[in-house]
């Protein structure tokens, strides 16, 4: 069988021919030979039948296989084990200091400077604006159009009530001669102007 030396030169090309793996020129040569060679044509038919049989068998096997978790199971096998968090951080830091040394040094310097700056700010102790122990009223003035006068009542520990009374409740000085009336509406009144008591015509319940 296949004693024809010409056929022998084509035997190695028949299987690639069936699988479509030959180049165009070789494919033309094989087709020309097959047109005139019954033996090779039978051989090709046999190879095709064999291939079909194998394909059908594989398809049957594939149909029986359970591939529902195939991707997940494959990925689970090929994924590397996840190292602990601190180990990953350590690796990341080592890589950064190895390959991004300049950036890391700059960042570390900036962080240190910010820490120093923040600690200086926090160490100032007293909050901004509260260096004094107690609050203190410096001045009170009223709107001339309002026709009211301020009454300043100082309490302990810096507490102060600023109450506004109408002109009919004008305050009179209880210590004559000290000039501590607060009846000049629209002018500045000092809370420490002296010991003053309200007139008989006092506001009721803070009324204006």
């Amino acid at each position: 069988m296949l004693l024809n030396p010409v056929c022998r030169t084509f035997i190695s090309k028949l299987s690639p021919f069936i699988d479509g793996e030959l180049r165009a020129a070789e494919r033309v040569q094989v087709e020309s030979h097959l047109a005139g060679c019954a033996d090779c044509t039978r051989l090709v038919a046999g190879l095709r039948a064999e291939s079909a049989l194998i394909r059908d068998g594989l398809e049957l096997l594939a149909a029986d296989a359970d591939l529902r978790d195939f991707s997940a199971s494959v990925m689970a096998r090929i994924a590397p084990a996840r190292p602990p968090l601190f180990e990953r951080w350590g690796v990341s830091l080592r890589e950064l200091f190895t390959y991004r040394r300049g950036m890391m040094v700059s960042l570390a310097g900036a962080a240190a400077a910010m820490l120093v700056f923040a600690s200086v700010l926090l160490r100032s102790g007293t909050p901004d604006g509260y260096a004094s122990a107690t609050m203190a009223v410096q001045a009170v003035s009223t709107d001339p159009e309002a026709h009211v006068a301020p009454v300043v009542m100082s309490g302990e520990k810096g507490n102060a009530i600023i109450w506004l009374v109408s002109h009919k409740h004008v305050i009179e000085d209880t210590e004559p001669g000290q000039g501590n009336q607060v009846e000049d509406v629209g002018k500045e009144a000092r809370p420490d102007q002296g010991k003053t008591k309200m007139n008989q015509d006092r506001p009721r319940g803070g009324e204006l």
Binding site: G102, M114, Y130, A133, V140, G155, L164
Partner: protein, 181 residues
């Protein structure tokens, strides 16, 4: 080997620090501003802690039977004024006037009524009459912000208006005395 990006990063860090320092250096002060409505309509004390304020105001001659807190705000005062809309359509403007030696001078202006200038302290509170409203009287209470006190607990913990009012003493000979009606 010299890193070409190093100088740029250094400049960036300097700019960041400078802007942070500028922001931190801008004078500002934190206060708590509360608006209280005192009236003789009913006997409502809301919140209940205002009963101390009622008692202390009574000692000063005010006979309000009802004290209600209408609002409470934490403010950061800067030179540009901060406005509080009062329910009687007036506006309270709080402005940081000056900051010397760590002490803030604040001006409280009630539109169309009065303005008060005071220096802030770690203790004390300002009770500023802010006009009438719905048959009662509005009181603007200016207190140190709670956040300004934590490192000074030995000198007194931060207290809201109703607690601060407790500290008013009745025996100050220099006080103006406004007796009960």
């Amino acid at each position: 080997m010299r890193n070409p990006g190093g100088s740029r990063r250094a400049i960036g860090v300097m700019v960041l620090l400078t802007s942070f320092a500028t922001f931190a250096a801008e004078p500002k002060v934190r206060v708590t501003a509360e608006v209280i409505l005192a009236s003789n309509q009913g006997n409502t004390i809301d919140p209940p802690g205002l009963v101390r304020m009622k008692n202390q105001f009574s000692q000063k001659g005010f006979a309000f039977s009802s004290y209600r807190r209408l609002s409470s705000e934490k403010l950061v005062l800067v030179r540009k004024g901060v406005e509080i809309k009062l329910p009687n359509l007036r506006t309270a403007t709080l402005r940081l006037e000056d900051m010397k030696g760590g002490t803030a001078t604040v001006k409280v202006e009630i539109s169309g009524l009065a303005s008060t200038t005071l220096t802030l302290g770690r203790e004390g509170s300002l009770f500023q009459h802010a006009g009438d409203h719905e048959g009662g009287q509005l009181i603007l209470v200016l207190s140190p912000d709670r956040g300004t006190q934590p490192r000074r607990t030995a000198l007194g913990t931060p207290r809201p208006a109703e607690v601060l009012a407790r500290e008013f003493g009745g025996g100050d000979a220099g006080d103006l005395v406004a007796p009960s009606p």
